[in-house]
Amino acid sequence: MKFKNLLLYLTSLIAFLLVWELYCQLIVRNPMFLPPSSRVFATFIELMIFGRPPSFFLPYDMLYSLFHYSIGFSLALIVGFSMGLITGWIKLANELSYPIIELIRPIPPIAWIPITILMLKLTDAAAGFIIFIGAVFPMLLNTRHGVASVEVRYLEAAMTLGATSSLTLIRKIVIPAALPSIMTGIRVSSGVAWMCVVAAELFGVAPYGLGYKIDLARFYLATDIIIAYMIAIGILGLMLDRVYRAIEEKALAWRVGLVIA
């Protein structure tokens, strides 16, 4: 079963690379316009191991982007979770915050870049802030939804069993009951954060990072580097998602029907 899946994955991947290769070799025939997959693969390996002057070295840029991601994402988790908990639990807090949240939420993170750079200059903090803006809303909304829809019967059962303070109810009932939504929030928020990393770095907040280098490569007309960096962005994003999925599955083992083959 597992093996068959792997075989299918590999088949589709190889087919894709093959079409790409043939298309470039037979039709495009201009590596600066679009290099074939074999060339990109070689470049990827080269950039992973040796790097290429002046400053293209994938492992370092990956770490640097993960650093930006961590600033923005951890901030988004903390703020999104706390605000989601408060607004989901206290009706008044929800009503007061609702118009503000709904007004700010549709502003895309990219629209925040100019003002962020003016206020925080070209710093890692600026990148962190843009990522935070993108990632905080999915976390907040999912947490709020999870907390607000905790079933009353669980709360009442807990109350008659001796859970009298709000703090106990939140710790013992609300958070575990809302965990499925909270986990979804973490996963969606992480995905948005990763997209914002690239957007933030494109504007040169730091001389390193995948987003910055992908744009730098454009000046060198090094299309193979651009694509190799794109692939690195894809792979890291996929890995992050897998990590949160694994955590989610572990934390929600009690849920019916979560066991998906």
Binding site: Y154, E156, A157, T160, L161, G162, A163, P176, W254, R255
Partner: protein, 265 residues
């Protein structure tokens, strides 16, 4: 009767749900519950049985009147009056053991003590071997056993049960009634048990309290002086059952006549 100690008493209880129209659910209800007794409450559908239990549990505030537990007025919900609900209210994120430990954790027992104590009650309801399962892996009857164990583990003065067996099929239900009596016999907890089912009430109760149609008042309280284990087909059992069914029919007819009047143009 007068020798027995009153553990819970209700005085002049009235409950109105404000709204349009307002609903008077309970009207001037007085009752005494004796220590260690198994009290069953039956009444027509929608008469206010759940409301009464919720007030006793402290989940609902009375409009007027008071509820005294061992002479002291109750203040909100608490583990001295644990409620077992009709719908399954087990915490799905906790295992059987975790559910039964819930009240014990809140009492500040150490993890070791809580586990030891919880296992006693899991054994009492006959679920040893299932302690690491999650609620969704259990049958309906097993779930209600867990709910019972979880409630008993709190060592409440009064156990409130709102139609806890009504979601079960007939065989499981009879079996659970027998089990419940055994457990009650061993723990001698005071139990207030609400049911729709007159046979169930006569099988389980020391007394059966019959409520009127809404607003709920006490129509009659009947002593069940039948030796346990009770035979559901013995003539005294059937006679008592008929008597209570007749009372209920009277109440249901009242509701019908009332609604016929209101339907008249």
């Amino acid at each position: 009767m007068s020798l027995r100690e009153v553990v819970l008493s209700v005085r002049g209880l009235k409950k109105v749900f404000e709204g349009s129209p307002s609903v008077v659910a309970i009207e001037s209800l007085n009752m005494d519950v004796y220590d260690g007794e198994f009290l069953c409450i039956v009444g027509p559908s929608g008469c206010g049985k759940t409301t009464l239990l919720r007030i006793l549990a402290g989940l609902e505030k009375p409009t007027s009147g008071e509820v005294l537990l061992k002479g002291k007025p109750i203040k909100g919900p608490g583990p001295d009056r644990v409620m077992v609900f009709q719908e399954y209210s087990l915490f799905p994120w906790r295992t059987v053991l975790g559910n039964v430990m819930f009240g014990l954790e809140l009492k500040g027992l150490s993890r070791q003590e809580a586990i030891r104590e919880a296992m006693k009650y899991i054994m009492l309801v006959g679920l040893e071997g299932f302690e690491n399962m999650y609620p969704h892996e259990l049958s309906g009857g097993m779930k209600q056993r867990v709910a019972l164990a979880r409630a008993l583990a709190c060592n409440p003065d009064v156990l409130l049960m709102d139609e806890p067996l009504s979601a079960l099929d007939a065989q499981t239900r009879n079996y659970m009634q027998e089990e419940l009596i055994k457990i009650w016999d061993r723990t001698r907890k005071t139990i207030i048990f609400v049911t729709h089912n007159v046979e169930e009430a006569v099988y389980l109760g020391d007394r059966v309290m019959v409520l009127t149609a809404r607003p709920a008042k006490i129509k009659s309280t009947i002593e069940v002086n039948i030796e346990r284990p009770r035979n559901r087909f013995a003539s005294e059992f059937l006679k008592l059952r008929m008597k209570i069914l007749d009372m209920l029919r009277e109440e249901i007819e009242k509701v019908m006549i009332r609604s016929n009047h209101s339907l008249r143009p």
